[in-house]
């Protein structure tokens, strides 16, 4: 699958040329622009940074943030870490286990641990979630 015109990738690579340890910033930029980091760009990145394709692949697969295919559904990241657990997120998540229109994915802490349960969608954060508020959020993004 061809995910983007090569020129876009080249622009990103040029932008980071000469930067120390540029791989993560490059991957972040590619994912921000195309929604994912496709397998097809790996050789281009490897060549630009003079590292092996295996190394690039190894980095992409190590980090939870990077994915090699575009997300199938709109994503709601719901914090499932301890402080949100203490505020009832597990019951909340269980109530939405059958939701098929959006993908409710776990994230471990959003730094809002005194006002959970919390969610993160796009560039917006949502605190003090109740079943009603999460349902409204699902409607909004679905």
């Amino acid at each position: 699958m061809k995910m983007a015109p090569d020129s876009d990738i080249d622009d990103i690579l040029t932008e980071h040329a000469g930067r120390e340890g540029a791989l993560l910033p490059i991957l972040h930029d590619i994912q921000a622009r195309f929604g994912h980091v496709g397998e097809a760009v790996i050789p281009t990145i490897a060549q630009a940074l003079n590292i092996s394709r295996a190394e690039v692949h190894g980095v992409i697969s190590f980090y939870h943030d990077f994915h090699t295919t575009p997300p199938r559904l709109p994503v709601i990241k719901l914090c499932r870490a301890e402080s949100c657990q203490a505020r009832g997120v597990e019951a909340l998540a269980a109530a939405f286990a059958d939701e098929t229109r959006v993908s409710i994915e776990p994230v471990y802490c959003l730094g809002l641990c005194s006002v959970g349960p919390n969610a993160w969608v796009g560039d917006q954060l949502y605190a003090r979630l109740t079943p009603e508020r999460l349902a409204a959020l699902v409607e909004q993004v679905a």
Binding site: F66, E82, S83, D123, L125, A127
Partner: protein, 512 residues
């Protein structure tokens, strides 16, 4: 007369709807100033008008606030007991300045520390930081002065200052509040560190879950560049890996590699980023330094408890009535923090368990409420204070489920480099599942083979599974390369020892 209303724009206030409230005040003809948060999270969004606070507000409350008929007033914010009982050094400006205003920063004592550092020179700075007793706030509590001395003495043409802003622990948000609310304070601290050790380049490694902090820091760095020159700082963004908070994994990540932990030695102070001498410090460690330089090490060291000097920004979170940021000298008891300051649980039910120090910290019972909040006291009680996050649980919590979560989290986040952490955590989940199901375990098909002379053929009892879990924790504790595998036994074993009934054991087994 137009009234000025101050409302925080930090991520937590925004998540609680601060923008809607701000818009309503603006629509009513007020001048709205977006400032940092005071840290009283249960009151967010909190509006301040001429020193008086109102919260938690929605847009619908604004008319009543302006008419003087709102029931949500809390009186003078600075006099509120939650604020008045604190000793704010690092958070001295919290609630009072616009995060990206250089004028506000300078008017509230900003840059005085850097000026002092430049006056007394690198050796002078290291002397002051050492005498202040400042210890690393990222968890391990290593003396900052010693680390800086090592880097300063290491001969190299190129050195780095790396700020660890990966803040992955649940219950912690103090780093985030510094970065979003007082970014120049962190930048000033890094500039002082660079001056002390002779570094040219600094990186702030921020977790990707903190987009607001990233944006604020980038804005602040553009503004502050001339002030800290020739030292330069760049923000780098993590990619959703908890273990990248471990300093050597963080360095690998900064270099563009998988975030795998490195064996130590060599210490990062000698061979750190790109093999060069590197100071790696937590946000709170670095942000404490400007105050120390401006007010003197003696004033800082005068506060604290035992070998834990100065103040700690403590974070009250989870099922707690008054959650937020509480900066105080070390030494308050856990009970004071949870019951008096935090007001007990938000649900109103009894406090069942308190986890101190994030996912790698122990679960305490109220029997530990006498413990003074300091590194050594918690270590002596088989716990740790870590990054000073406190999660409160009420009596609806099932502590065997929490123990399972600790193992599962370790399995998900393990970097994979060492076996006890990578494999042990998965086996840990399985054993705890068996304990929770009281199922015991029979021999599996391989173990049943006649060739497997040493494998046991009979089932394993609950008691044997508990022993197995304890053995596994022992192996992880002593065999892991870093504290991810090494400290996961803290929440697991503390849950087992302090809440045996949740594992199907009689309460008496707790004593051991």
């Amino acid at each position: 007369m137009t009234r000025t209303v101050r409302i925080s724009n930090d991520a937590l206030a925004l998540a609680c709807g601060a923008d809607h409230v701000a818009a309503a005040f603006a629509a009513a003809g007020c001048v709205v100033e977006r400032v940092s948060s005071w840290g009283m999270h249960w009151l967010e969004p909190l509006a301040e008008i001429a020193g008086e606070g109102f919260g938690p507000l929605t847009a619908d409350d604004v008319a009543a606030v302006l008419a003087g008929t709102s029931a949500l007033g809390i009186g003078a914010i600075a006099a509120h007991p939650f604020i008045a009982r604190q000793q704010r050094f690092t958070f001295a400006r919290a609630g009072q300045t616009r995060p990206l205003s250089l004028d506000d920063y300078a008017a509230h004592g900003g840059w005085a520390g850097l000026d002092a550092a430049r006056r007394i020179g690198p050796d002078g700075v290291i002397g002051e930081v050492t005498r202040s007793g400042l210890r690393g706030r990222g968890g391990a509590g290593f003396p900052a002065g010693i680390k800086w001395t090592t880097v300063a003495k290491a001969p190299a043409a190129r050195k780095y200052v790396v700020c660890n802003a990966d803040e992955g622990d649940s219950a912690t948000f103090a780093d985030r509040m510094v970065m979003e609310g007082d970014p120049f304070g962190l930048i000033e601290g890094m500039a002082i560190a660079a001056h002390a050790v002779g570094a040219q380049m600094g990186y702030i490694y921020v977790r990707s879950e903190y987009p607001h902090a990233i944006a604020t820091l980038r804005g602040a760095l553009d503004l502050a560049a001339p002030i800290i020159a020739p030292f330069r700082i760049e923000v780098r963004v993590g990619a959703g890996s908890y273990v990248c908070g471990e300093e050597t994994a963080l360095l690998n990540s900064l270099e563009g590699r998988r975030g795998e932990v490195r064996a130590k030695p060599p210490l990062p102070a000698i061979e750190g980023l790109f093999g060069q001498p590197t100071v790696v410090n937590n946000v709170l460690t670095l942000a404490a330094v400007p105050w120390i330089m401006a007010h003197g090490s003696a004033a800082y060291a005068a506060v604290g408890y035992g070998r834990s000097r100065g103040t700690m920004p403590i974070q009250l979170a989870g099922n707690v009535r008054y959650g937020g940021l509480f900066e105080a000298g070390f030494g308050m008891t856990l009970g004071e923090l949870v019951m008096e300051i935090g007001g007990g649980t938000a649900s109103g039910r009894p406090v069942h368990a308190v986890q101190v120090g994030g996912p790698l910290g122990a679960y305490h019972t109220p029997a530990d409420f006498h413990l003074p909040f300091d590194y050594e006291s918690f270590a002596a009680a088989d716990g740790l204070i870590g990054h000073a996050g406190i999660t409160v649980f009420d009596d609806s919590a099932d502590m065997s489920a929490q123990a399972r979560f600790a193992m599962q989290f370790c399995a998900v986040e393990s970097c994979g480099k060492c076996t006890p952490c990578r494999i042990g955590s998965t086996r840990g989940v399985e054993v705890i599942d068996r304990i929770r199901a009281r199922s015991g375990r029979g021999a599996d098909p391989v173990e049943s083979l006649p060739q497997m002379h040493n494998a046991r053929k009979g089932g394993r009892s609950l008691a044997e599974d508990i022993t197995l879990l304890e053995d596994l924790c022992e192996t992880m504790k002593f065999g892991s390369l870093c504290a991810l595998g090494g400290f996961t036994p803290y929440p697991v074993l503390s849950a087992l020892r302090n809440f045996p009934q949740d594992f199907g054991l009689p309460a008496a087994a707790a004593a051991e």
